[in-house]
Symmetry: D2
Subunit: 484 residues, 4 copies
Amino acid sequence: MSCTIDRTAGGREYKVKDIAEADFGRLELDLAEAEMPGLMACRTEFGPAQPFKGAKITGSLHMTIQTAVLIETLVALGAEVRWCSCNIFSTQDHAAAAIARDTAAVFAWKGETLEEYWWCTEQSLIWPDSDGPDLIVDDGGDATLLIHEGVAAEAAFAANGKLPDPESTTNPEFKIVLRIIKESIERDATRFTRMAKKIQGVSEETTTGVKRLYEMQASKSLLFPAINVNDSVTKSKFDNVYGCRHSLPDGIMRATDVMIAGKVAFIAGYGDVGKGCAAAMKAAGARVIVSEIDPICALQACMEGYQVLPLSDCVEYADIFVTTTGNKDILLAADMAKMKNNAIVGNIGHFDNEIDMAGLYAIPNIKRQNIKPQCDRFIFPDGHGVIVLAEGRLLNLGCATGHPSFVMSCSFTNQVIAQLELWNERTSGRYENKVYILPKHLDEKVASLHLPKLGAKLTKLTPEQAEYIHVSVDGPYKPAHYRY
Amino acid sequence: MSCTIDRTAGGREYKVKDIAEADFGRLELDLAEAEMPGLMACRTEFGPAQPFKGAKITGSLHMTIQTAVLIETLVALGAEVRWCSCNIFSTQDHAAAAIARDTAAVFAWKGETLEEYWWCTEQSLIWPDSDGPDLIVDDGGDATLLIHEGVAAEAAFAANGKLPDPESTTNPEFKIVLRIIKESIERDATRFTRMAKKIQGVSEETTTGVKRLYEMQASKSLLFPAINVNDSVTKSKFDNVYGCRHSLPDGIMRATDVMIAGKVAFIAGYGDVGKGCAAAMKAAGARVIVSEIDPICALQACMEGYQVLPLSDCVEYADIFVTTTGNKDILLAADMAKMKNNAIVGNIGHFDNEIDMAGLYAIPNIKRQNIKPQCDRFIFPDGHGVIVLAEGRLLNLGCATGHPSFVMSCSFTNQVIAQLELWNERTSGRYENKVYILPKHLDEKVASLHLPKLGAKLTKLTPEQAEYIHVSVDGPYKPAHYRY
Amino acid sequence: MSCTIDRTAGGREYKVKDIAEADFGRLELDLAEAEMPGLMACRTEFGPAQPFKGAKITGSLHMTIQTAVLIETLVALGAEVRWCSCNIFSTQDHAAAAIARDTAAVFAWKGETLEEYWWCTEQSLIWPDSDGPDLIVDDGGDATLLIHEGVAAEAAFAANGKLPDPESTTNPEFKIVLRIIKESIERDATRFTRMAKKIQGVSEETTTGVKRLYEMQASKSLLFPAINVNDSVTKSKFDNVYGCRHSLPDGIMRATDVMIAGKVAFIAGYGDVGKGCAAAMKAAGARVIVSEIDPICALQACMEGYQVLPLSDCVEYADIFVTTTGNKDILLAADMAKMKNNAIVGNIGHFDNEIDMAGLYAIPNIKRQNIKPQCDRFIFPDGHGVIVLAEGRLLNLGCATGHPSFVMSCSFTNQVIAQLELWNERTSGRYENKVYILPKHLDEKVASLHLPKLGAKLTKLTPEQAEYIHVSVDGPYKPAHYRY
Amino acid sequence: MSCTIDRTAGGREYKVKDIAEADFGRLELDLAEAEMPGLMACRTEFGPAQPFKGAKITGSLHMTIQTAVLIETLVALGAEVRWCSCNIFSTQDHAAAAIARDTAAVFAWKGETLEEYWWCTEQSLIWPDSDGPDLIVDDGGDATLLIHEGVAAEAAFAANGKLPDPESTTNPEFKIVLRIIKESIERDATRFTRMAKKIQGVSEETTTGVKRLYEMQASKSLLFPAINVNDSVTKSKFDNVYGCRHSLPDGIMRATDVMIAGKVAFIAGYGDVGKGCAAAMKAAGARVIVSEIDPICALQACMEGYQVLPLSDCVEYADIFVTTTGNKDILLAADMAKMKNNAIVGNIGHFDNEIDMAGLYAIPNIKRQNIKPQCDRFIFPDGHGVIVLAEGRLLNLGCATGHPSFVMSCSFTNQVIAQLELWNERTSGRYENKVYILPKHLDEKVASLHLPKLGAKLTKLTPEQAEYIHVSVDGPYKPAHYRY
């Protein structure tokens, strides 16, 4: 598959839905900047020194308005950028248009096919005048995966001349990945290998992507240093908790207009995302039931007054089902068959296998009634239907506009600082091919950049107090294991 | 002014944005029915007897999906219906299309001019084969107002031959009303008088409309009986409180995508609407400041942990300003001039004079930057801007889809029952030209029709317990003055 | 039965637990004054004119610290006062001591027998130098009941010479009332008749007492005017809701030290008291189940996310049971037999028949294990026990110190203003032998007296705004039927 | 100083307020057992094997009812126990009596002087037939401190014959410690040295105590292994957060009866304790202001809608001040001088230097008015007073009964498991003289022992799901750095 690439007057490549939406995108970008104080402070603090001068950055991260502010921050610090989305539904087309027109090479639109998705990912890694990027901003790890799979396939090909075989897998998405790599090797048998060598590191945003990185670290297959931005406190405890607390009801309301008050909401998983989701549903007047495998999280749920039950105990009477686990097969087709008519089913945790969409499509004689974009009613042969949001993909991105700017400013300021760290230390040998977490003083810095916007004023330790609790007056204030 | 009227194949008149949206409207109507158990129960209980057989009902009420379910309920009970919206921005065009195509005469679209708005109102009152409607469903009282003004003008004309003079008022909207009546008298000098005579009554939905009715009752100018549906408990304590608790954040999020957590939200007024709004903002993580004129409501706000301050004390640092008072001049242009950059300003209480939009437009050199429909940034000469939602009109209707179906089912079930009462008693003399509230047992009935959907199970009094508290086993359970 | 009456040096009568606790009582009285701004403002505003000069006031109302501030306010306005408690467990002995020593005649102690209780009530009505009080402050209506029963019995005696027969009733408490009246008639056959004639009116505090008054009004047996203070907004929506929200967890925690978070709390009734109780249990981290007979209140509970179930559906798994209904037989002995071990059972609504204490005592071989004052474990023959608070009487008074001063200041300021109204209008004929509610401007005044303490600042209407909504700039701001 | 030691009939030593309170203590112990499912499960699971057979355990931990259940659990597992409280006000005398009579040697009463406090600590370490305990259960680290200071002083004495000099410090408490050690050396110059050698380890409960341990680890002065129980998730995220959420309002209400709703509550510190406290005050209807030094915690506070300000910005208008920082000098005497009359001041974080009690006492002409035990009003020369709870010590222990049983069951089950670990591994060399955290599977086990009591049912991973997220089906489920 191959899409046509467009070019700006200045010759920069892009592929977006409609470049004419750029003005609207710019308008929203202007508004978002006021809500992203961390990124704007980075521009002020680091911009003049142009620390990314000469750096090529590839990003694979939901191409939204907020990401656009991130991209323009990276560019403001001197970087050259190519970007794709990390989800076929999450692109905001006006954001993509504004960036494509004004700032960086973008390959993203809302409603990509899987084929198109991986084509975009590949494009974001292809640098016309170079072997590839110096740095990767990743979300979910697809860019990193493609490179690692590419390198492995090139090594196999060098060893035994065997090309990857798309037919060797039944996973339809992985089939596409293999085909892309196969075609790449047919064109250039060391492209990914050269690319990996050039890369100074990746900073990764999500639990899912980070898990993959730790597995690669464990198997010693990680090809470049990685910074785990997901586990910065200012990411995991803000984006995951407060971002979802905001965007879960937003997504449900935009998709269904349904009253949440009085309903029974089943939240699968009570990690950071689940905590935010349960809080939002409770705040909206729902009765919340949580499911958990982890007794500690389950006990936390109890302490907040949530009922803790397995799905099977309440599948027949809950009204809204939300998956937040980062695991697969949480809501099976057989579960959905038991739900009441017009039960709402959505995923805000992870891939679309968290809800068994494949199983749902496979039910004989099931009918899919499209209500509006990202909102389908699946009608079972017995006549009852369930309303599935965003085809089982992240509903807050599919049905609403993702997390709000302010919380993304926290996450993305971590990204900027992680990218700076990887780039500044590229020759120091400080970072091996392992996974690192940002040091706490940088984490605290991210937070402090966001306080003035909210009118919050910090208290200062006296030197005597600092000594008394054995910290520096300027922090960091907490031990590494502190849980917040 | 005169728009072209379209006709269905069967000859029914309508004027909507795009009749082709009818299928989408029907889909959403189907979904809404499942969320409106009170209306559906009315169809089941009353439909077979066709109590509205022969009744012509004119409605002036936001032409949304939920209203469509109301309209189809009235028709299911035997009525013939004509409808307009009561707000220039509140029509959902797919809902209007579905009703126009399938059910009733509709004159409504999103984004009417004021001229168009009053033309639609007039059309909804014109019955081709009759002097006018038998019953009116009103929201805000504009249909009732037009009739009463028309009757008064016809009486003046009969007395002294003087036509209403649009130039006699500076209010641009009332100018239009006077022109319509003038042209009506020029065509037919007793049309409104005959119409008023035919009308058996009106049921009114809002605080604002009810206030007008009580004023007419006080001045003995009310021309037909009125049922105050607004003050049914199942309306005022549900629609106003829980409806706004749902739709305020919905409107803000759809319009601005802004993070509410951490912000300072100023809620002007702590009546039912204000209570719902303050609860929603608090639930979303905002710090809430309430303003009140009434010490009792102010003390209630204190008990919930809200700060109570006049606007002038916090105009410079609040982030979100919401008016809920039902009064005028709550946020003046001079106030908005003092707000911080990108402060969000919206009204969920009443007309667009609650925020001083006229004053805002009148500021020399102010610029209006349209961000998206129903979301404008007004840029002051000093460079700072405020984001005004829905042009100062009801933001939940303008920026989101209004209240959710479930809560509207409570309000609209009251409407159906009020209309039935007016119609059934039309010859009994039970209702004079006064304003009435629905009897409590009907109010309780509305509530009970909504409980099974939520899985709620009532407790039954024993006869001994009923006697002990001096109520009937089947209710009503509370004295008239009970406050809930 | 007859207790010994003590006398102060100055000759004022009293009967309290220990007059030596007066200093401690005075200390707490001083603190409470700072939390009762409404009463203190009454002293400032009305004190100089001594409006109660010459008035004898009898009060039957929980003899707590807060009541002591009320009593001293009445005295500061010129009244002479005699007082008893309206609950055998609710007296705070140090408060009683301080008042007895310093201010007024008091007959009250914590832990009265029923005999002692009615003796105290009688003493509070006996004025050495007079036929009885001029005014009554009542809570629950026992003082009013005694007088009405006395008058009726004296009338019967005058008619046919028959004395009341304590054996004519099986109700043990009413037996005592009849005995007291019998003995009174034997001493003085017209005492209650003369007393009733002298009384200018009663102001009543509670739902229960008010219900009795309306019944007497309906049967035309009410002997003097009554002001229903319970239905002042500043009483019912503050004392009942916020008072109980405070004092329910206070009572449970003091009595049992049990963790509320994670527990299932069953709240019988979702009126004002139930709303406060449910909010408190939810806030403390419990999962709340509400029972209701009234579908409107039930639907309100749903909107707040509470599950609505009859007792029978959850009697076996709830941990905490609280009755708030004002009805009888809510928790039967048979229900308690089904509860889980160490379930906590308490009443905050009404008399001790709301929980079937009589039935509990009557279970063969049940054992009562006293844990501490006001906290008993009843052990069923099968070995499981339930923990009953305050012997089924009001747990917030029995196990804690009742409502906090601030909320009682609202209620009691209503009492003061009602007493002033009755006294000032005693000769005007304004009040007939009916039940009245305080006019709204006085209700608003009570609220406004409490705002400065909380730092709340009201907004003022402009004259144009006031005209626009048809109210006076200075209020009252709401129609009579407004629900708050 | 030397108190008389009492002895049970069986010869076990104790010193308590009143042994006659043992029956009441036993009653409450029985009730508490039902609320401490983790400890009871330990008895069931480990009791039969008597793993602590031969182990002598000294505990220095608030001698409450809940601690009594811990002590009886240790004894049920075979240990011999001696106990003291770790706070002069925290002992519940009936709990101490029951344990003294039935189970173990106790030296503790409510209201010890500092001299008595350290005498009790010393007694708990003296084992008549042994050099000292095998294990220590510590809270705050005073037992550990005494031993370490003792060992150091004995070493100094051995080196240069110099005895510790109480006059060498101005800290009155440390003076006492030095005197005790001095007298000990005068009696037996190697007692502490022998004792330290015998000790297999300590498990420590609090942030403060743990901080001391890490400092000793850093300076390599730690004399035996230590398990940091404070940082078990099931301790820090439950005891600190939910325990304080329960016991802060409990303490304030018992001490002052003040209405929290409507007040401004200032919470110094937004760590785990601060989070619980702020949540409790918000839940009770207060307006909460938080102060923080750490920008991350400050941003968390913002996200929950709390205002974040330094003390100086609100010292004049807040009503309730609570310190939760674990640092010193948070509320200085000069701050209290600026507070409004009857402002309430309490500490729930740490020692009584968190509030500057010494500075308060030192104000010339300040008057202390004792209202009731643990509640004093300090009257400044200008006439205004502040109400200080528990003399600046932990108010939840001083004014109420500390954390409720359920949450203490979590903490104490960690203690039991930590003690088992130290004892079972005493010869394996697994634990060096360092500070350890309990492994996650034990932490999860603690949680799981508490779920059935709350009716919570866990979901089980399928093997496929477990593999997908790379955990074992039976846990542990989270990486070490997970923050919950």
